[in-house]
Symmetry: C2
Subunit: 638 residues, 2 copies
């Protein structure tokens, strides 16, 4: 089969193809709008003032209209006195009478009986706003292509203009599709949605984004995976709207009918973009209208909205703007930062990649790191400080590589500390207490050893450890000494916490001891090398005389307690080692094994950092301790 | 009397006083909102997910659910075959069945009869999104103080959250005041509003600005200058709204009752800010609510809205943001540019000044210049590329001084040319034809001589001249030669235009000849030194054997034809010299005197500039020639 459309093209190419196909439509869709409704619209013609503003010679001040010649020689020392018939009170904006040609400021006068004492000599036209001072009738006050701003709206009124000719903003319809997609109301009212279903959430993202951008979008009910129905809906859509967006169905799955529908109804322009996420985007021209298929995963939808739909909406609005600026605008970029990559990142070859990144400044270096690159993870977008678009040429991105970040939210780097180290849910709860105290706190769960190593490399302000030295049964001392390598590091004991075996609810495998965990064909969910919990597991294994090769799932590398416990919860594993709060959060069974100290480690040089101070203060926060206490498995000594 | 409030304070002090007085109210006004209505609101609490997302182990791809162990050894060369009971088709997002632990991508398979051929070996959990991959039930997904974004709204829905606790945005009432203020509808329907009246236009600016900022404002009907009525309205306002804005009445005029009303009802916090425009701003606390008086001139209102009201609205919304960022946000700054001042500017001592500036790049220098500094001129705000806030320490700002500009609109400096020279209404009409051809054109009316001088200093790309050499009656040649001083300058004859005497309608002074203009007590409206029209006037004066001292108004310096004609129209002068189109525009009488060539002068080095090319092409634009031809007084030779 000969491909009748381009596949796997670059984003820039895709945008150019949209321009080429729909550029001719831009600027054809015009209307007249009342000035009060024209905000943000683009004018289709030059606009000339209907009236002079002001429409008479107006006093520019509060004071007295006089003939300038009557003030000659007046000064503080030699005031001139005028009888009532030769002056007249003027409020600012009052009509200067024909016999006067200047206005004396009230500050430069006083009254003596009914005579006006003048303390300042005036030139003709002093303090008089001539007719047309602001604009003159017939003057061009705005031009074709200009955006209607608050100032212009106000000026239009003054100049006697009621309506202005503008380009219509395109109206968009979004059609979500999929048998598995559950409407918002149903999703929220059902406490236990069926497996295999998903909330129709993309429309909320789309509606909110359009609102931020100043465009209108309607959302149709969810269309099931039925090509005939989808065809009907898309046909209807292009009849009533300027742009139609179809949610999902552009991949190669059995229910992906969008391509066939687009081919039936019109002409596919391109399919698949060389970017990640967002690859399965598709565009068609149907009855002259642009129809875009948004891939279903939330981050894919987002990226295609930013990079293709927003530029298209602007194109159809006749707004002349650089692509780079449009994409930054779509993303909601408030500033552009130059950062260094904190963590090595592998980017696919020949593909632009959209990273959701977090930022922190350690010493003089502004670091950024990717939260995740999965298209299905919406949290990362919500949590990100900003977006980095890696070029197609980026492959193995080494630590320290320059990365440009489009910052979406306010970040005060001087008040933010970066924590790397052992994961703990109680620590996550510290963020708000810290923020209330004027600091800010971001964290990466890299395990106890990973945190100490990052600290020794100067890649964070703070680490946390609960590392058992199996030579002498001590915690942390030998590890911290080794990583600090002579540097002065402070240690703060936050709490003791209970580690244990987390098993499925009801403990179906009857695991009571560590020995029983190792026996039989139990599948274990392990943590990453360097995690304190893995160190503990290896120690217990050694004590039990077992070798890692005997343990099914030993090669598993979960980076948090919750992730490991989650594998137990979903049946992918029978047991894991972890803290009680993680077990409790998922309603799993817990067999306590040991209590361990959880210590923060902070280089002395950072002790004065405002966020460190806020954190130390927050460790005594009553509300926080109550919440953590209620989670179970934590003990304070103070 | 002891002042009970601060007067003439700095802007920063005023903001601090608002913070001190109303900061305690910030964060008290909370509510619950449906997630779809919470966009842009700030959360009052940490939000935890109600559900795991996804809430089951989901296939991440389209393909086949299998047990990973059944794929061991599979490759393109050594496919593994599975019977139907050991695989199951999965759409993306489908529920992975309990007996499977991995999903084979459809691309890595083919069918042979009903057997599945597997071309790739899988590890357990390959292409499976574990339960809670995105977020886990109980996980904190947004924190106190975070702004609700499109991504968060969508994530809230997925996580089963219907409503979120947010800070209420303050509701604002704007009360326009003034006997002279005419409502919008009345203003537009009356073709000849009375002298001394003004349109109620500030509310349009306020409404549009609030819409851009995402805040609500209601506008009350205009309140006349009556302290009792204003008192009633303000009392009512603070009862029903969080913020009340009062339009005007804070100066020292006889109708300025706002101070007295504020003092009666509550506590005045400050009056008068050391900035220009915007000086007569005033703030009070009435029944615990902030009430701000906006000075009446449009630019004063604007500046106070930007610098005090927007920060106040953010304060009351509990949004923690830098003042600098807030003001830039209020202004609508899209980029910050470093520029050099093109024209000397005198700024008042000890006062911050808000300039509305235009920009252009000549050679390697980005220049900016102030359009006007008058508070009453709204056009300058509409026309400005950006805003420059001069510090209080700036006094005599020399040419070339560094000025930071907050750019409000897109300007492509490489496509823009700066024209300085002789003013002509027909040239102003060229902007749109030039823009349609991909160029951009900005101009300063500085007179023929001023333009040539600017050109010789490298301060523009182009000048225009119609300068009569009274030694030999030639036009332009000698002047251009002198200013070019050896540099290669191209000359383009645009048209011939008719100069003449502009007199009042009906010619009440019966002026028929230049001689008659000079006779009697006629008041003349002159142009600035260096203007071609002034050169012509001086020439005619000399020919008539008259001296400047005999001419009343000779010292007047209007910078455009329209400004000069306007003085005749308003009766400030009996006659001026100017072009026919200016006379016609105001319906004045015109006595033709001479036809002069109007030439553009462009250094050869700029001839390739895209906007010069666009301009040269535009000189033949049919629509433009028709419009200019209809204006009268222009003649083409080609």
């Amino acid at each position: 089969m000969v491909a009748r459309y381009s596949e796997h093209i670059e984003l820039r190419t895709a945008i150019e193809m949209l321009k080429k196909t729909f550029g001719v439509r831009a600027g054809k869709n015009t209307t007249e709008k009342n000035i009060s409704e024209a905000l943000g619209c683009l004018l289709t013609k030059d606009i000339t003032a209907h009236r002079n503003v002001p429409h008479y010679a107006a006093s520019a001040v509060d004071g007295y209209a006089v003939d300038a010649s009557s003030t000659i020689g007046a000064s503080q020392a030699t005031p001139v006195s005028l009888e009532p018939s030769r002056y007249q009170w003027m409020n600012t904006g009052a009509d200067v009478p024909y016999w006067a040609n200047a206005v004396l400021m009230v500050e430069d006068s006083s009254m003596k009986g009914d005579a006006l004492l003048i303390f300042k000599s005036l030139t003709p036209s002093a303090n008089v706003r001539p007719l047309g001072e602001d604009v003159m009738a017939g003057q061009i006050i705005a031009r074709e292509g200009d955006t209607v701003t608050p100032a212009l709206i106000s000026l239009f009124l003054c100049a006697g203009i009621e309506k202005v000719p503008v380009f219509k903003k395109p109206r968009t319809l979004y059609i979500p599709t999929g048998d598995e997609v559950i409407s918002r109301g149903k999703w929220l009212s059902d406490p236990n949605p069926k497996s295999g279903t998903v909330a129709e959430s993309n429309s909320l993202f789309i509606e909110a984004s359009f609102r931020e951008w100043g465009f209108d979008v309607d959302v149709s009910p969810v269309v099931p995976d039925d090509p005939a129905l989808l065809k009907e809906k898309v046909s209807e859509g292009v009849g009533n709207y300027d742009v139609v967006l179809v949610g999902a169905g552009s991949a190669k799955g059995r229910r992906d009918h969008t391509l066939e529908v687009f081919e039936d109804l019109g002409k596919v322009i391109f399919r698949w973009i060389r970017m990640k996420p967002g690859r399965p985007a598709m565009a068609a021209e149907i009855k002259g209208k642009p129809v875009i298929c948004l891939p279903g995963f939330p981050m894919s939808t987002t990226v295609v909205l930013w990079s293709l739909v927003y530029p298209l909406l602007n194109l159809l609005s006749a707004r002349d703007e650089d692509q780079d600026h449009l994409i930054k605008e779509a993303v909601g970029c408030r500033e552009t930062w130059n950062t260094k990559l904190l963590v090595q990142h592998s980017s696919p070859a020949g593909i632009e990649e959209w990273l959701r990144v977090k930022t922190a400044k350690v010493g003089d270096t502004i670091y950024s790191w990717a939260l995740t690159s999965g298209a299905s993870v919406l949290w990362a977008l919500a949590e990100a400080d900003g977006i980095a678009l890696l070029p197609a040429t980026a492959l193995e991105c080494e630590k320290g590589m320059d990365v440009t970040v489009w910052m979406k939210r306010k970040v005060d780097l001087d008040k933010r500390i970066l924590f790397q180290g052992s994961d703990d849910p109680a620590i996550q709860l510290l963020v708000t207490p810290i923020r209330r105290r004027g600091g800010d706190f971001v964290s990466r769960a890299v395990g106890s050893m990973g945190g100490l190593a990052a600290l020794s490399r100067g890649e964070c302000h703070m680490a946390a450890a609960h590392l058992l030295d199996d030579r002498d049964g001590t915690y942390n001392d030998s590890f911290i000494e080794r990583f600090a390598n002579g540097a002065k590091w402070e240690r703060i004991l936050v709490f003791y916490r209970t580690q244990g075996i987390i098993v499925q609810q009801g403990n179906p495998k009857k695991i009571k001891t560590f020995e029983e965990l190792c026996a039989g064909d139990n599948v274990f969910s392990n943590r990453q090398p360097g995690a304190g919990t893995r160190v503990l597991f290896d120690h217990l294994l050694k004590m039990a005389g077992r070798s890692p090769s005997e343990i099914k799932g030993y090669e598993q590398q979960c980076t948090t307690h919750m992730e490991a416990a989650n594998r137990v919860f979903t049946g992918l594993a029978d047991a894991t080692l972890g803290i009680k709060s993680a077990s409790d959060a998922l309603g799993l069974d817990f067999i306590p094994l040991a209590e361990e100290p959880y210590e923060l480690v902070i280089p002395s040089v950072y002790m004065d950092h405002p966020a460190v101070q806020a954190l130390l203060d927050s460790l005594g926060d009553r509300e926080w301790r109550e919440t953590v206490g209620a989670m179970g498995g934590y003990r304070w000594t103070d």
